[in-house]
Amino acid sequence: MVVILGALLLGGLLAWVAERWGEVWPRGVALMALAIAAASSLVPSWRGEVAWPWIPRLGVGFHLAVDGLSLLLVWLALFLGFVSVVVSWREIKERVGLFHFNLLWVLAGVIGVFLAADLMLFYLFWELMLIPMAFLILVWGYGDRVRSALKFFIFTQASGLAMLVSIVALAVFHARTTGRLSFDLMELQGTPLSQGAARWVMFGFVAAFAVKLPAVPVHTWLPDAHTDAPTAGSVVLAGLLLKTGAYGLLRFVVPLFPQAAAEAAPILMGVGVAGILYGAVVAFAQTDFKRLVAYTSVAHMGFVLLGIFALNPMARQGAVLQMIAHGISTPALFIIAGALQARLHTRDLREMGGLWAVAPRMGAVALFFIVATLGLPGLGNFVAEFLTLAGTFQMRAWMAAVAAAGVVGAAIYALSLMQRSFHGPHREGLVMSDLSVREVVVLGVMMAVLVGLGLVPQPVLDLAGGAHVGP
């Protein structure tokens, strides 16, 4: 596991340096680093636990551990890493080395978050991924990118500080009972907390994860960041950064504060349902391709929140599957948005229409991912939403009913997106080239994964199912 992180961090530095030898070098180095990381993630014997002392005085260890859930997300991260490098092959023309440095460091931060079994190490990685992500938006983004990058950064950083205080508070409470300061997740589990303390400490965690997820009142950074990010940035943002919030809820909030989480569950489920409906309604009103897709993320992550806090195994499995399926389908839509923007120099749906006529391949691929987004049976997203709703129904039937209305909303916004861009009368002068082989290959692989998730979800569910209590 150290190899994965090491390959990405060193690869990032090397890619930066390699810039001076030519534009292809950083891309090659990045692919090499990802290949090494991917290869080492596949070797089971290299997945052993790592626990080294790091800051012994505070009981902080460099402790990495992996279970089914983290392994799935690590694979997703590496897969999207490959995708990002390939889709930015033509889009990113300047400062290629620095771009790949940032990309690989974001991935390292995200993977570190998925692997960390020490809360302070987790916080380090949590913060580590922010800066390069902000840079991706800032330097290679579009539109009002400075504002978007700052907004993204400040939202996540402010909530991250709340989490830091909570992490330390938890460790201090633990030290009061055991007399030993430790940040290790295994040790902190089962720390006896008074009801009030548990609520406050959990609040800090939930604040950070809800912003990342994003849950509804604190989601406003997301549309801006997505819209202004370069394609690879959107891919990483939608595919991975949002998942770190969900992962945090699954890994830390529910196991560390079982009681307080159960108390807060109705509220958080309500927030999830609100996200589903709000995301659907607002997405429908968008005229910008990327912004529309960004709001669908709000809706989809609402399902994840709902599934996690339904607090039953079925809904939880749905949430995990939704994380993976959304991690494939939404980045794919961002890639299509990026491809359209590169060809038409606009993302405005009002200026599109009838594109199927000029780019049938792109139209077909877009149709596939759009119906995946709306949850067509046979694809991963359907299984995920079905499990979530079925699990929720057992707990709170009316919430499942309201959330199901969101599925209808999804059908409306998704089909209207398809209709406005690829169908309808073809506008004069709107010509563009179809998808290139490179893009077809990337999107084709993503389609295959989604179909696989939809038809045989069981292996994924089994793998993630092993991750019920901590690493």
Binding site: I55, R57, E127, I131, L150, A158, V165
Partner: protein
């Protein structure tokens, strides 16, 4: 005074000797490089002798000074910081032109004053060190005689510092009237509240914490960049060291704790909020220093002497990195203190830009820099001591602070069509900045070796 006493005073003697030697040399040959070399050698010898001295047992040199691990740690820090400033400022003074040899003399005298403060265990050496540190700062702040802002800042500092020194002295007199002694250790627990309050005002002024911070932005802006760096590191660091020792030896009272808590919260809030829309980088760093001293007070209140020392070390490296870049980019007529000077710096001078970015990331408390771990340590020690209010204030205000630090970083990466010409880094300055940046990353990644030093230094106070 025995021979061993003289040996244990070697760091001070080296720096003092360096100051005298520089003065003599400058008296005969007015050559910038020569004065700079003598200074650098004097400060380097001071630093080496800190490492060389046997620090096992604290050594009382007269009743005024004590040379223990705590004093040696801060002497090392202060000489290293002065050394860095001396190396980095050479190019700066070269471009300014004029007679600059006195800068080096005054720099060493100020460093000596700081070292006396670090070793002080007596109100007399406290005041002596303070004046030795402060008096050179008056001419230093006004050193750029051609600039109005510099003169204004110098006069402002002179008036306020003299006033605060008088207040401090009156406080000391009150303590003496009460206790009949001037030694920290014998002042005892029941200090006269009035005397203590007056001392607190004097110390608060030198630290530049709210509500005694009014001089900070103006002086930071007006003083030449190397002098601002000196104030930010040597002056504030030495003052904090003597405060730590003083409070440790006299003991805290609840009312003093409450007062320091209010000062800490006010500093964190005021510093961070005032810096928000600041376009002048030196001023911005001034406001940011108010906030950082507030964080340091949280560590002090939590009783984390080692944490405070670690924070100071990280802060020294951070501030020296930031001001090193400011110095390196400043030209003949004015300091590079406008935010616009840094627009697109990365595309022009990647090296300098990286140091600046690392420093600002550290100021903002982001990984993988020293500022990140230092802030984490402060939060841990604060919560362990149950200072919930203070830690909450720290979290909220530093979330606000992220905005203005990031604003500078964003500016550095902005694309520009037409770059203003900027001077190139000299090799020595580049090497020193590289070391500072390496230290910054080291402090953020592998804190254990430094923590060990800090803990053993803190042990000397207990």
């Amino acid at each position: 005074m025995s021979g061993r006493d003289v040996v244990s005073l070697l760091p001070m003697l080296m720096v003092a000797g360096g100051a005298v030697a520089t003065m003599l040399v400058a008296g005969f040959w007015r050559r910038h490089r020569l004065a700079q070399r003598v200074t650098v050698v004097g400060l380097a010898l001071g630093f080496v002798s800190v490492l060389w001295i046997d620090s096992e047992t604290p050594r009382h040199v007269t009743t005024l000074l004590v040379i223990d691990r705590f004093a040696l740690l801060f002497m090392g820090l202060l000489t290293a910081a002065s050394f860095t400033i001396a190396v980095l400022s050479t190019g700066y003074w070269d471009r300014k032109g004029g007679r600059v040899e006195e800068f080096y003399v005054l720099l060493q005298v100020a460093a000596l004053g700081g070292m006396v403060l670090a070793a002080s265990r007596h109100l007399v050496s406290f005041f002596l060190g303070l004046e030795l540190l402060t008096v050179p700062l008056y001419p230093l702040i006004a050193y750029s005689r051609a600039e109005d802002r510099s003169i204004e800042a110098g006069v402002k500092y002179l008036v306020l510092a003299a006033g605060s020194a008088a207040i401090l002295l009156f406080g000391m007199a009150l303590l003496y009237a009460e206790a009949g002694t001037l030694e920290f250790g014998r002042l005892g627990g029941g200090l006269a509240p009035a005397g203590l309050a007056l001392i607190l005002v004097g110390v608060g002024f030198k630290l530049g914490v709210a509500p005694f911070h009014l001089w900070v932005p103006d002086v930071y802006e007006g003083a030449p960049a190397p002098v601002t760096a000196l104030i930010a590191t040597v002056s504030k660091g030495a003052m904090f060291a003597v405060l730590l020792r003083f409070l440790q030896m006299t003991g805290m009272t609840p009312s003093l704790e409450a007062a320091l808590g209010v000062i800490a919260i006010a500093s964190m809030a005021l510093g961070n909020v005032s810096a928000l829309l600041q376009d002048n980088v030196k001023r911005l760093l001034g406001y940011s220093s108010i906030a950082h001293l507030g964080y340091l007070l949280v560590a002090l209140l939590a009783g984390g002497i080692d944490v405070a020392a670690y924070y100071l070390l990280a802060y020294f490296a951070t501030v020296l990195g930031a001001f090193g870049v400011v110095m390196a980019l400043s030209g003949r007529d004015r300091d590079a203190d406008d935010l616009a000077d840094y627009r697109g710096l990365y595309w022009r001078q990647p090296g300098a830009a990286l140091v600046l970015v690392a420093s600002f990331l550290s100021l903002a408390g982001l990984p993988i820099t020293g500022g990140f771990l230092a802030k984490v340590f402060v939060v841990v020690s604060g919560l362990r001591s149950g200072l919930w209010m203070l830690v909450a204030a720290l979290a909220v205000t530093s979330a606000v602070g992220v905005f203005y630090y990031l604003r500078v970083i964003v500016t550095v990466f902005r694309k520009v069509e037409e770059a203003p010409p900027s001077p190139r880094l000299s090799r020595a300055a580049g090497a020193v900045l590289g070391i500072v940046m390496g230290l910054l990353v080291w402090l953020g990644v592998w804190p254990e070796p430094f923590q060990r030093i800090m803990v053993s230094a803190a042990g000397a106070l207990r």
